[in-house]
Amino acid sequence: MPNYRIHKTEYIDETKRVSFKYDGKTYFGYEGDTLASALLANGIHLVGRSFKYHRPRGIVSCGAEEPNAICQIGSKKDLTEPNVRATELELYEGLEASSQNCWPNVKFDIGGINNFISPLIPAGFYYKTFMWPKSFWKKVYEPLIRLSAGLGKSPTEPDPDIYDHKYVHYDVLVIGGGVSGIIAAKMAAKNNLKTLLVDDKKILGGSTIYQNNESIKIDDKLSSEWLKNEIQEIKKLSNLTIKTRTSIAAYHGYNFLLAKENLTDHLPEEKKQNKIRQRLWKIRAKKVVIATGSIERPLVFNNNDRPGILLSNSINKYLDYYGVTCGENIILFTNNDSAYETSISLHKKGIKNLIVDLRKSASSELIKQAESLGIKIYFNHVVTNTFGYRKINSLEIMKLSEDGNTTVGDKIKLSCDCLGMSGGWTPMVHMHTQSGGKLDFRDDDQVFLPKENSEDQISIGSCNGDFDLENIIDKTVNKINKFLDIDNQDYQETNIICSKENDKRNIWLLPNKIPLGKTKCFIDFQNDSTAKDIKLALKEGFRSIEHVKRYTTTGMATDQGKLSNMHALGIIADTAGVKMGTLGTTTFRPPFTPLTFGTLVGRNVGKFFEVVRKTSMHEWHVENNAEFENVGQWKRPWYYAKNGENMHDAVQRESKAARDSAGILDASTLGKIDIQGTDASEFLNRVYTNAWSKLAIGKCRYGLMLNEDGMVYDDGVTTRISENHYLMTTTTGGAANVLSKLEDYLQTEWPELDVYLTSVTDHYSTASICGPNSKKILNKLFPNLDLSDENFPHMSFKEDKLENINCRIMRISFTGELSYEINIESKYGNSLWKMCIEAGKEFNLTPYGTETMHLLRAEKGFIIVGQDTDGTMTPSDLQMDWIVSKKKYDFIGKRSLYRSDTIREDRKQLVGLLTDDPKEILEEGAQIVSDIKSKPIDMLGHVTSSYFSPNLNKSIALAVVRSGKTMKGQKLIIPMENKNINVTVSDTIFLDKENKRLNA
């Protein structure tokens, strides 16, 4: 096996050999490697196939900008992860990775056929074809298109890993632990500012940490040595928190940032288990220092995408940080000085290399150094083509014309096994723009830079366009002192020596003798968009950068255009003859690098997905075979499946028992609002449709609440406990909204009212006992309470004690039966319930759930807001005109009841329905018509509630029907999928219209 690891570095621990699998084959690397560096050490460049043409692709970079080396990690159904960048994944023992988007394998991929038909599939080809014959779209074309989707594979089983969230506040957040970030963090922390420094890498130091060129020195030391010292210094600062393996994902307004901390992705599988995999940091910082650095640009020339073609600086990092050379015969193609550092470093390690430089000439310390080492430099030359299918083996260069628009002279063919390219540097302005900052364009080296720095954030270092070390350090120190309003002198004496770049030449699309249409000059490697695609888009009239991006898919791959956006812009600007600065960029959208869903969600999964609200009696319900219904966040007993009976049987039994003897319901979930104050009565007058002033103390009244648009919003019984004290009940689901609405009116419209509102829903538990024997049960529980109709009539309230515990007892009824609701402090709820059950034993007191409650109230024609209403029903629509006070001057929603469409007679109105076949139970939600043959069919309304009543021995239903008020006795039809059901409109009250049972 070839070994490209050619020297030792302090970042690779050669004592710790790590085995890993790539595409099923076992390889070795060392602790400290990334998957990419380990693959390169094994001589592997070819790691994937591109999305559209399935061209062989190799590792291009060493970081987050990587477009090609994205792998499927792991093979377990629950733990596998798609699209992981090999350049960022730290190597661990047992790591399994495989290439994506290829079949049968990366070396021979059937999809590669797309490369040969590429002339037929330019940008946007799919908009122009697959339209004929029309019938082929669904059966042939679309399935084919969808089959080609995607790169890696989604896991297919639930993720066993744990994710976490952490909320932190800092005075200063520094993003990026390169030289400028380290200086900024040190200055801030030494000045007593609570500071957080984050960096996405395993160690701090950015690209300076492996810098070893003798011509770049700080205080007479190699810059890397100086920086290591600084890192030791800042680690001692108590005010400073350093988080490595932590990358900022998003920068939101008000200095709210999200960072992802990787905790176990670098660990072998057995060490990952039961640990938090990733943590999302939610950071609020008073000030943010952005020191995110810059990314090297590729160059755009024919066949610039072959495996073995990398960014020049990445070759340098693989060499000096990982000890790996990317080839043995390397050519560096550049338009700036930085590639010379790579060249010199390669040269010093004995790697043959030469330089092709776009610039006519150049002079600087670095260039002199290269020249003195005898490194061959072709100035004013350009690479025009490369060769080699699975890896580059040679290339051609030509001389550039004076204006740089064409090539001249003869081709020179050079052999190589690796090509490094450097098209200059792009400052990472993502964070600045995400925070809302604007950009300026610097023509000099064709970069977008942060325009202005606000009070809250600042960009320093190379993300601010400062590239040489002297510039970086000086400017950082000055800017940070000013930004933080401090006077730090630590770096006053620092002496920096570095090479200064003097010559620049940038050509976005390099010239070629071959017509552009016959070249493949890639801009977006992963999405396979080329320079000619950009030009095609422009030709077809797509002008805006956003249009070109969307038409060609440039910049939309998993790297989000980190390597491609600038070139696309440059080519558009050149072609359209406009200045790049005026074109603007596409929006830099979060996240900076893809962010795991699990991390974003944190612990809020599974049983922590949402709060479960349980009443005090919950355990009893569970023990007694209750099936539960979710009502909002509450769990309410739906029915009790006694002896394994089904729901129908249970409900029939419960309903019958409640009417024949006694039933008990856990009504604790109903919303309860305590209302106090001298204006409480007036307040109720304004919020309910009916009048409240005359309600006597100790009495209860049903109220209907409207929205300001006149539609029924909520209902419930309110009790006057004393002169200025009421207890309001609301629906279970509406409780929170009702309270909010009441508070809103009270605070904003009627602040003059002396009223105080307190939610007491959770403070009281409620057992509701109904049925002809309920009084007897109450008597057993409260023997001293006079339960006579004279003393304690329907719709009244008493207080009494149950074993010294205060209870509020209301005689109110939602079932039409004689009924009492006992309220007790929640902590006694379960005891109350058990005592009721015990006391009721001799009367067959039967616990019943929401389904029976719904049935019983439907027999009486009582509505359920939200079931029989849907936000479009007025009180009159519900045939409840009786509850709307004619005398009151105003109440919420009153005015809306007199609009031309709310007073219409033919609105949908609540009615009862009886099926011709009394055994037939209607489906809730079924539509109602009078004429089955009309086209289009005229739907009159729908069934809102439907049950089989055991007490009436027939099916009953409530429905809303157009002009229903006038239709009593009329025959209507419920058209179901397979049959039509005949029904007759009836009264809404099916049982005990005279209310005899209330006083039974």
Binding site: D709, R895, R899
Partner: protein, 93 residues
């Protein structure tokens, strides 16, 4: 996510608050005197301003107080906060 300076509790994360929309739409004292058009104006019509908007917020997961906020809806910057019943700051008109 904004930071909202609740006039009663101080600066808190936006997730503690709920928005109540445009402020200073006073509920008519005599709704029955209004035409359908005038009532609809109160009920539904909104300035929906792009720029400086006076709006209501409720510290729903805090003190539950309603108050007013002056916010630029074109960039979400909060310019001022004041209690219900207080006069709106004049410099943003």
């Amino acid at each position: 996510m904004f930071l909202i300076n609740c006039p009663f509790c101080g600066e808190r994360d936006q997730s503690e608050f709920s928005s109540g929309g445009e402020a200073h739409i006073v509920r008519p004292k005599q709704p029955t005197e209004l035409s359908d058009d005038e009532w609809a104006e109160y009920l539904f019509m909104r300035k929906n301003i792009k720029g400086i908007q006076f709006e209501r917020w409720n510290h729903v997961h805090g003190c539950r107080k309603w108050f007013n906020v002056v916010r630029d809806t074109s960039n979400d910057k909060i310019l001022s906060v004041y209690k219900m019943g207080e006069k709106p700051p004049v410099n943003y008109k």
